[in-house]
Amino acid sequence: MTAFWQDPITFLRLWLENLLLFWGVPEGWVLVIRYTIGAVLLATAALLFVILQLWLERKLIGRLQDRLGPNRVGPWGLLQPIADVLKIFTKEHITPAGADRVPFNLAPVLSVAAALMVWAVVPFSATVFGAELNVGILYLLAVGAIGEIAIILAGWSSNNKYALLGALRTVAQLISYSVPMTLSALVPVMFSGSLNLNAITRAQEVWFLFLAPLPALIFLTASVAEVGRAPFDLPEAESELVAGYSVEYSGLKFGFFYVAEFLKAFTVSLIFAVLFLGGWRGPGAEAYPVLGFVYLFLKSSAVYLLMILLRGTLPRFRIDQVMDLNWKVFTPLALLLLMIIALVDYFLRGALPLVRVMVLLGVNALAYVILDRLLSSRERLRRQPVAQPVRPVARPENLINPSETGVAS
């Protein structure tokens, strides 16, 4: 019997189970009740966590941009997000004329649901994990598909050209980036021999970040793009698309797209921490499972802070740059790395852990140096031609005599 302070959640769970069994509830229903309570608590906690996260992000972005950030409501502006939530709760829901009502209302719900559903399989500590699913990683990737459907629904049902274009462009970006993401998520699976997230966590005697830093980098960048945050926030490029797929939404429906975006941002940090940073592992986490929560939270917060830093530092990409980065750098690189790591790690079977780490790190470093060379030489090639063929300007004289401008169309 574990003590309360060692593992409070398992303690409470066992207590509840025994209580229900004592009351004569059949065993199957005990399971259902336990799962329902767990799901409601976890989902609510995740949604409430977004409120804190909103404050943190606004404050940090404010500091990065040499502003104070929220500072009026409550100490350090801590109550600002709560005030925002109350405000958005009382705003009118406008349904644009010609909107397709069912998909229009379904879209924000599905968007949040897709972000929440990821939390069902995340292992939080040695003893507390949602579903011990034997296809955990694939589940994470599949849930992303539901988010894409939600975006298509939102864009199409709004009866607005810009919403539709924004939605389809967003989906094009999301599906593109899920290619290198899926490919680099194969590497932790190879190392651990399981698709189960808890098994992957347990297999990380050495963090997979040290065994495969480049796939980890690809995975992280692709997750930032999947979330659609700066520098990949084309979906909401105001200057091009009004505001993307959520233009016609107002009130809490709009708010939920916002919530889904923030929730996804933390969720991908969580997934990155589980796949590459050892999840809940840390000194004493086996004996005191409650520590696992702390470690996982610290690790994913570190990743999340990195994402905020990226958002505050980098300018937005253009859509063609986004696509080039994905299809011409990340996808081939992920494929090549997968081949190289599969081959190298085969010959390292049974080698000392230190040797294995060193060799794999060396391989990754070598790959990085070669990539850097290739990219910078490509960059040089691209910068050489200064005089591009100029597109004819629509001046009156050009329109009358297009051949005289001397520029072939």
Binding site: G28, A142, L168, L195
Partner: protein
């Protein structure tokens, strides 16, 4: 009936209903969305069969990729008039033929003796992914189909690029 059978019956009805709605809906995008519901239903049926991997693949490939491909294909077409009748003149004949084929299939299935090979019950911890992975690349398993699948995917990629870009080459 056990709970699992109830889940199966409800999902099966939802799936078939969504498939019917897909055929009968007036707007193309609605048809695509009903298709998503039908595909999801098939995924749930895979789950009731404890085939987690296939359930997830159903979700990942069919809803995640093929459905989005279909949506893009719909958006690629010109706007068509969507106000026509739901069913055309042949609808009832088609429904009759489909019903007949369904009845024949059901009749054949009912007479099919599954008991001829002894079925083994798999343990509750049985994980189908590992044996699947071993069989896929085993020389005596499915190594050749595995490689052929890769060639097939390559052919699909080249074909798509060819169709989309060769005509463009004619234009200077």
């Amino acid at each position: 009936m056990s709970i699992l059978q109830w889940v199966f019956v409800v999902t099966a009805f939802l799936t078939v209903g969504a498939a019917v709605m897909m055929v009968a809906s007036r707007r193309m995008m609605h048809a695509a969305l009903w298709l998503a519901v039908a595909l999801l239903g098939v995924g749930v049926i895979f789950i009731t069969l404890e085939a987690s991997f296939f359930a997830i693949v159903q979700l990942l490939v069919y809803i995640g990729a093929i459905l989005i491909l279909i949506v893009f294909a719909i958006m690629l077409t010109q706007r068509t008039d969507e106000s026509g009748a739901r069913l055309n003149a042949y609808a009832w004949a088609a429904a009759g033929i489909a019903g007949l084929i369904g009845a024949i299939l059901a009749f054949t299935m009912a007479g099919w003796i599954i008991g001829s090979t002894a079925l083994q019950e798999l343990g509750s911890t049985f994980d189908a992914v590992l044996p699947l992975g071993q069989a896929l690349v085993d020389a005596e398993g499915y190594a050749v189909p595995f490689e052929v699948a890769s060639v097939l995917l390559l052919a699909a990629l080249i074909g798509a690029v060819y169709i989309a870009f060769e005509r463009k080459g004619e234009r200077p």
